[in-house]
């Protein structure tokens, strides 16, 4: 099976007067699993449909496997696609759903049978081959839809929110299955979702999109630990990152001042030279640590609410200057509303953003 890279250069797409994508560049490596993540309406499906050739572009180029396919028909692009609504042909059996495209394209019958058999085996569809889509469960339908894509032996597989119509448990199961499939086929996959768990678990790299612009393209770990701006920081991660407004102070040692508290920023990797300016500090709930009251970097906060979440507990606190934040602690924490805690914000785990531009400092 061939593995193709996808190279998108200055892509522009619009509907009537609405510009959805403007000057978008994206390079997906061969065999890579790339996830497009972003809020509803940000242009993820639009981008994916453009790669598939299902909508016309206004400008720019799309190259797949080194060929310029900007104006090629979808079937000639070496792609296969899996849709959110499954888009199975309702009056055809599972077998026919998978084989129909091939037989219309004139593929020899034994070759079709071989490919369908192979896909059915990979997706455990063997016992379902003679059923109609209406006789399948949601998860089975989605597996058939994946099977229909697999038989195309494409170089690039495109997924448009394939799991969003399924319940949480099935979603988790199929997620694992897709990941296994990727490992086994080694094909290039581009996967659209607005579910960050899917994105973080599946992706080699994630492209976080907003308003038709790729905000950050990076590994899941980098996206999580070092978001490039406040949007990425707040969109990825659940429970959400805490934001505390304040300013950077460079009186001697660089620090962050929020109300009466001062945090040392020793250990924070500034991107440029820090300047005295208003800024926003971001920290994920699980990176906040409890500490002793004599720790010089301790900040004291009052507990306002305790949310047990099973494996651990989310504790909502308020600082003396009224800033609220949440942090995560093991489930056995003996914390009650009204307690005063001493917490520490480790500088390595912080993210600092410019207050105006929202960019990472």
């Amino acid at each position: 099976m061939q593995k193709s890279n996808v190279d998108i250069r200055s892509l522009q797409i619009g509907f009537g007067g609405l510009k959805v994508l403007e000057n978008l560049n994206l390079n997906v490596e061969a065999s890579e699993f790339l996830v497009l993540l972003g809020p509803s309406g940000c242009g993820k499906s639009t981008l994916l449909n453009a790669i598939a050739g299902l909508i016309d572009v206004r400008g720019g180029e799309i190259h797949i496997g080194g060929r310029d396919v900007t104006w090629a028909e979808p079937k000639d692009r070496g792609i296969a696609m899996v849709f959110q609504s499954y888009a199975l042909y309702p009056r055809m059996s599972v077998r026919r759903n998978m084989s129909f495209g091939l037989s219309v394209a004139g593929t020899p019958r034994d070759e079709i049978e071989r490919r369908v058999g192979e896909a059915a085996r990979m997706l455990q569809l063997n016992s379902l081959l003679d059923r109609r889509p209406s006789e399948l469960s949601g998860g089975q339908r989605q597996r058939v839809a994946i099977g229909r894509a697999l038989v195309r032996h494409a170089g690039v597989y495109l997924f448009d929110e394939p799991l969003s119509n399924l319940d949480a448990q099935l979603r988790a199961e199929l997620r694992v299955e897709i990941k296994r499939l990727h490992a086994r086929l080694g094909a290039t996959m581009i996967y659209v979702t607005h579910d960050q768990i899917e994105a973080l678990t599946l992706a080699d790299r994630i492209a976080v999109m907003q308003g038709g612009v790729i905000q950050q393209l990076d590994t899941p770990k980098k996206i999580y630990r070092e978001p490039v701006n406040r949007f990425v920081a707040s969109f990825v991660g659940s429970p959400a990152m805490n934001f505390i407004p304040g300013r950077i102070a460079r009186d001697g040692e660089t620090g962050f001042i929020a109300g009466a508290n001062r945090l040392g920023l020793n250990g924070y990797a500034f991107r440029g030279l820090p300047t005295d300016a208003p800024a926003v500090l971001g920290i994920r709930p699980e990176h906040i640590e409890l500490t002793a009251s004599d720790d010089p970097s301790a900040v004291s906060a009052r507990v306002e609410m305790v949310e047990p979440m099973g494996a651990d507990t989310l504790i909502w606190c308020r600082l003396a200057d009224n800033t609220a934040f949440s942090f995560r602690h093991d489930a056995d924490a003996q914390v009650c509303v009204g307690d005063t805690l001493n917490v520490r914000f480790p500088a390595e785990a912080l993210s600092l953003f410019d207050e105006i531009s929202g960019q990472r400092l």
């Binding site: 496997g65 060929r67 310029d68 900007t70 104006w71 032996h153």
Partner: protein
């Protein structure tokens, strides 16, 4: 894909006019002509003097257009024994249509309301039967109904035809309103019940005001349906109340001597006018109406 090496058309794909699109527009154009032809012919024929019709071409535009035929059709064409034009029929149709539309919608909406929101025992059986009998041709009921009406002394009259239209409109109207009320959130009904409103209060104060879209659809459906009716008017309206369609048929098909095609077409257009106005005036509502009333047709 194995065909990786084969070059792809790099040229900009033109979305505009492929041969297939040309074929499509040609098909649409020709079929549209077929559908428009009768309307066009009606209009031009009605505007030509008879001499021009006899010598000229059916499709030609009138050389000396005149509305004489329209005036004659309206005021003095012969509908059987009398020669007072189609206006008599027009007025009759109006007198039949207005009360029939109002009453059939009232009865139908009330029935639909009772069947949708109030779980009356046997309601589903009643409704199911209604849907089935709506398909039965009128010929099956007509004679017994004639007997019943003459027995009750109503005979053939305006009241009879209004009752008849109400009866035969009942299944469609009930279907329309039952489905509409059933689609409203049931909480609305429950809230009104909790507020202590009774059956007719909920119907008049809450449900009917909310049913405006369905009322529009029902009015369109019943107006055109009753206006276009021929057979019921013929049998039940009585000689003095014959609706426009019946009179039109009399004008055209029972003329003695030479046929005045221009007058015929003017009268035909006059008869088609109200449904056409309703149709073009109501736009998508008409489509909604036939979709909703599709079960009867």
């Amino acid at each position: 894909m194995t065909a990786a090496a084969q070059p792809l058309p790099a040229a900009r794909r033109s979305k505009r006019m492929t041969p297939a699109r040309w074929g499509l527009y040609a098909f649409i154009f020709i079929t549209a002509l077929y559908f428009l032809l009768p309307l066009y012919v009606m209009v031009v024929t009605s505007l030509k003097p008879m001499a021009e019709i006899r010598q000229g071409n059916l499709l030609a535009l009138p050389v000396a257009p005149s509305i004489d035929a329209w005036v004659k059709a309206w005021t003095s064409a012969c509908t059987g024994l009398t020669c007072q034009g189609i206006k008599i029929g027009f007025l009759n149709s109006l007198r039949i249509m207005v009360p029939s539309v109002v009453i059939s919608i009232l009865v139908g909406s009330l029935t639909g309301y009772a069947l949708s929101l109030w779980r009356v025992r046997g309601g589903n059986i009643l409704f199911g039967t209604m849907m089935v009998v709506a398909f039965i041709p009128y010929q099956v009921f007509i004679y017994p109904l004639v007997r019943v009406f003459s027995f009750t002394g109503l005979g053939q009259s305006l009241l009879t035809i209004v009752i008849i239209h109400t009866i035969f409109g009942l299944p469609t109207m009930t279907l329309l309103f039952r489905n509409y009320f059933a689609s409203l959130p049931v909480e609305l009904f429950k809230a009104a019940r909790v507020d202590g409103a009774g059956f007719y209060q909920i119907y008049a104060r809450i449900m009917m005001p909310m049913a405006t879209p369905m009322i529009v659809v029902a009015v369109i459906l019943q107006t055109t349906g009753i206006w276009n009716d021929f057979i019921l008017g013929l049998v039940f309206a009585g000689r003095d109340n014959l609706p426009m369609t019946v009179q039109l048929n009399n004008i055209v098909n029972s003329t003695q001597g030479e046929r005045a095609y221009n007058v015929d077409m003017a009268a035909t257009l006059l008869t088609a006018l109200l449904p056409l106005v309703v149709y073009f005036g109501s736009g998508r509502w008409f489509v909604r109406g036939i979709a909703a009333g599709a079960v009867k047709g």
